[in-house]
Assembly symmetry: none
Homo-oligomer: 465 residues x 2
C-alpha cells in the first residue's frame, strides 16, 4: 500500500495523445468485434464464434504480436505473444474472452444485440462489457504503447478464449498443458465492474459456481389433468416442492453440510466493504423491487460478495403458451446454481445437493440432478507490484484511489491461473452497476473505455517503475 | 332401479336387422365424416369445420329431420328437429359436437389422423371417439328407427356444435337464447368412455374447472445470478415456494375454505365405485410410475371422480435452453388449475386462491392470479325414466347392467343444459380407456359402435315403454 503512494502519477502524455488521436478508430474496430454474434452456447453460432476468434487473431498479429489460434475440443484459444522486453523484464499475461452470452429475449433490447449503438454515453451491444469491450481495452492499450514507443516495457502474453460463457471447460487443461509457455509474473483480467461511476475498483474475491439441471419425471407422457389429476404425483408440483426445501426461513441454504467449508473473510476486507458508499434503498430502486431477499442479518454487499447462494436460473414444465391447456405434465425441469465462497468446492456441493434431493423427492417421480458446470471460488492477496501499479494507474486515469471490492459472479479460470501459473491475479474491471452483462441492453460506459485504455496502457509502465 | 329390472329386454329384432343390413354404409359414411379435418382451434381449418357442419346438416335432413345451421360468433350450431311423435310423447335432446382436437404431433400417428383405418377392431382417426363417432351412433340410431318404423316414439332434437374442443364459448348463450325451442324432457350425450371393455357405463358426475395463471414479478429485468444472487428475492424460487404451500403433507389442498362447499357423494355411488374392477398396479404400469399421488386415504377412483384437485399445468421462468445460463429471472409463471366437485364454485375458488397467495407471497415480489377459465361441477340424479331406459337398453345391447362411473374431466355444457333446460342429463359413452381422445392414434371400438347403435336405437323405445 505504501508503494501505491510513491508518486502522484499522471497518464503519460504520449500515450494519452495517441489514444485521443485514435479514439474513433478504436471504437469503430470495437464495433466490428461486437457485431459478430459469437454466442458460444449455441452450436448454430459456431461459425460466428470462429469468426470472432479469427478477427481477434488478425488484430493481435497486426499490432506486432506473434499470434496463434490453438484448437481445443471446443472453441479455440488465442495465444498472442510479445517477448522483446529488456532482459530481466517481467511477463504479464492478459486474459479475456471473445465469446458472449445468448442475446435472448431479443424483444427486450432497445437496439439489436449485435448492432452496437451509443446512447447517453453508453455503448450498447451483447459483449460490450462482457467481455469484448474490456478485452479490447487491453489490445488497444498495447497498440498505444507499441505505436508511441515502438516497444513494451514488459513481455506480454494475451490469452483469449471462446468458452467463458459456457464454463471455460477447455481452458484449465489448456493452461496446464501450456504452463511453461504461459509462465508469467502477473495475470491481468478485465472482466468485472467498478463499484460505482468514477470509483475505480480492484476485485479481491470471486464466488465459485456449481450449476445443475434438476429433472423430475413422472408419468411416461403428458396426461389430461382432468382425467388423471388428483391421483398422480405431478412433476411440476413435485419440482416446486423440492425447490422450496432448499432454503430455510432465514434465507440460509438448507442443504446439510452446505456451509461446512465456508472460511470467513478477513476483518479488514469486511470493514472496507462496510465503508463503501452503498444504499439499499437505491439498490432496490434500481432493481425495481420493494424488498430485498437472502440471508437475514447480513448487509447486501456481504451477501453478494462473501456468502454462498442457491438460485433458480430457469424452470420449465407442461403448457406455457397462451390460455388454458389442461395438461398434467410428464416432466419438469429447473436450472439451479450455487455461488460458492472459499473454501467450498463444486464437486462437494454436487454431492450434498444430490443427497438432499434424494431425501426430499416424493415417491411417484424420478429426480435427476445433472451438473452443468462448476468453478471454484477465489480470493486475492492484494500485495505486490502488480497491485501497486494498478493503484497508481487507476488513480491517474480516474483521479482517485481504487477501492477493494468483491464480486458475486464467477470467473472460474482465475483460480486456475493462480493455481497453475502461481502468479498473482489482478482483476481490474471497467464495467458499471446496471450494465446488463447477461441481460438485454448490455452496455459499457464510453468514458470508462477511454479511462480504461489510459489506465491499462500506463499499467505496463508502472509495473516496472 | 326396480324399473330397470321390469323386463329382460332384447334389442328389437327389426332395428337389429336394419342395423346389420346397413352396417357397411354406416361405417362408410362415418369415414366420410372423419375425413373432414374440422379442427376448431385452428383458423386455417375454418373451411373444413364449416364443411363438417354442412355434411352433418345434410345427413340429418336426409333422414327426415327439419334441420337448421345457425351461425354464432364462432362455429355454427346445428339444430335438427323431428316433432311428429304421438301427442303427450316426451322430447329428447341429443347433443354432440362435430369439431375435433388438433391432430399434432402428426408423426406419432400410426395411420394419418384424417384417413380412418381399422386395425384390431379399432377405428383410428381424429374424432373417431371424440365426438364424431359417438354423435354418429345417435344419427344412425334415429335413421334405423325411422327407416324401420317410419316414425319415432319420442320427439327428438339433435343439437350439434363445433366449438366443444375450444371451450363451447358460444353454446351456453345459444342454449339460453333458444331455451324454448330446446325445451325437452331429457338430454342425452355420448361423449365419454365406458369403464372397461364390455362394461357399459352411465356417467354420474363431472368435475368442474377453475384455471389460473400465477405470475410472480421481481426485479424489473433479468439479472446476473452471480452479481445479484443472494440479495434479491428470486421470482422462480418464490413461485416454487408459493406452489409448495398449496398442498399439505396428506395431499389435501391447503387453501383455507377450499373444501367448505364440497358435498359428499351418496354412499351407494361410492360403494358402487369401490366395487368396480380397478387395479392400482395396472394403472401405475399404464402411466409408467412407481407410486401414485393425491390425498391419502382415498381410492384412486374416489380421487379421480369425487375429490377436487389442484394441479400445476405449466411453469416457465428464466433460461430453459440448452446448457447453463447464470440468470436470475425477473419473472416467473405457473398455470394452475383446480378440478371442482359439487358444490364448489370457480368464482369462490378464485377468491380463496387469491387470498392464499397474497398471504404466502414473500416481500420483494409481486404476485398476480389471473383466472383463465372456469366451469361448474355437475352430478346427476340417476333416477327417472331416461336412466331406467338407458339401463335396459345398455343391458340388452351389451349383455350386462351398466355401472355408474364418475369423470375427472369437465364437459362444461352439461351443467348449462341442466340449469337452463331443467332436464335430466344422461351421459352414456362408448369410448374406452386408452382411446387417445386428445392424443395421436385416437380410436373407437368397432364393436362398441355396433352395440351403441343398438342401445341408442332401443333407448327411444324404452323411454316410453
Amino acid at each position: 500500500m505504501t508503494m501505491a503512494a510513491k508518486k502522484a502519477s499522471k497518464v503519460p502524455a504520449d500515450l494519452d495523445a495517441w489514444l485521443s488521436a485514435n479514439d474513433s478508430r478504436i471504437f469503430d474496430e470495437l464495433n466490428e468485434f461486437l457485431k459478430i454474434p459469437s454466442v458460444s452456447a449455441r452450436s448454430e453460432h459456431d461459425g460466428d464464434t470462429r469468426r470472432a476468434a479469427a478477427w481477434l487473431h488478425e488484430k493481435l498479429a497486426k499490432i506486432g504480436f506473434t499470434t496463434e489460434t490453438i484448437p481445443t475440443a471446443g472453441h479455440p484459444v488465442i495465444v498472442a505473444e510479445w517477448r522483446k522486453a529488456p532482459p530481466g523484464a517481467p511477463t504479464v499475461l492478459i486474459y479475456g474472452h471473445y465469446d458472449v452470452q445468448p442475446p435472448e429475449p431479443l424483444d427486450l433490447w432497445t437496439s439489436p444485440a449485435f448492432e452496437p449503438t451509443i446512447r447517453d454515453g453508453k455503448l450498447f451491444a451483447r459483449g460490450a462489457v462482457d467481455d469484448k469491450g474490456q478485452l479490447w481495452i487491453h489490445v488497444k492499450a498495447l497498440e498505444a504503447q507499441l505505436a508511441v514507443r515502438g516497444t513494451l516495457p514488459v513481455n506480454v502474453i494475451v490469452l483469449a478464449e471462446g468458452e467463458e460463457e459456457i464454463g471455460s471447460e477447455h481452458l484449465a487443461p489448456f493452461v496446464e498443458q501450456h504452463a511453461n509457455r504461459l509462465a508469467c509474473d502477473a495475470v491481468v483480467i478485465s472482466d468485472s465492474a467498478m463499484f460505482a461511476p468514477g470509483i475505480p475498483s480492484i476485485l479481491s474475491s470471486l464466488r465459485g459456481l456449481a450449476y445443475f439441471e434438476i429433472t423430475v419425471r413422472g408419468p411416461s407422457s403428458d396426461l389430461h389433468s382432468g382425467m388423471y389429476g388428483g391421483a398422480v404425483v405431478n412433476p411440476a408440483m413435485a419440482l416446486a416442492q423440492i425447490l422450496a426445501t432448499l432454503h430455510d426461513k432465514r434465507g440460509k441454504i438448507a442443504i446439510k453440510g452446505f456451509y461446512d467449508k465456508v472460511r470467513s473473510f478477513p476483518a479488514a476486507v469486511l470493514k472496507g466493504m462496510r465503508s463503501l458508499p452503498f444504499s439499499d434503498s437505491r439498490f432496490k430502486k434500481d432493481l425495481g423491487v420493494k424488498a430485498l431477499g437472502g440471508e437475514t442479518g447480513k448487509t447486501t454487499l456481504e451477501k453478494l460478495w462473501t456468502r454462498p447462494t442457491l438460485e433458480v436460473n430457469g424452470m420449465l414444465s407442461g403448457y406455457t403458451g397462451e390460455g388454458a391447456k389442461t395438461v398434467l405434465p410428464g416432466v419438469s425441469m429447473a436450472k439451479v446454481s450455487c455461488r460458492l465462497v472459499p473454501d467450498q468446492d463444486p464437486d462437494v456441493i454436487e454431492r450434498l445437493l444430490k443427497a438432499h434431493v434424494k431425501k426430499v423427492a416424493p415417491a411417484g417421480v424420478t429426480v435427476t440432478v445433472q451438473p452443468l458446470h462448476g468453478g471454484k471460488p477465489w480470493r486475492a492477496d492484494l500485495d505486490g507490484p502488480i497491485f501497486d501499479a494498478a493503484r497508481r494507474a487507476l488513480q491517474a486515469a480516474f483521479g482517485r484511489q481504487p477501492v477493494i471490492v468483491g464480486e458475486g459472479g464467477s470467473i472460474p479460470v482465475v483460480g486456475d491461473f493462480a493455481r497453475v501459473l502461481k502468479a498473482p491475479v489482478l482483476l481490474v474491471g471497467f464495467g458499471l452497476p446496471g450494465e446488463n452483462a447477461h441481460a438485454p441492453d448490455e452496455w459499457i460506459s464510453v468514458d470508462n473505455v477511454r479511462r480504461g485504455l489510459r489506465a491499462m496502457a500506463m499499467l505496463l509502465d508502472e509495473y516496472v517503475a
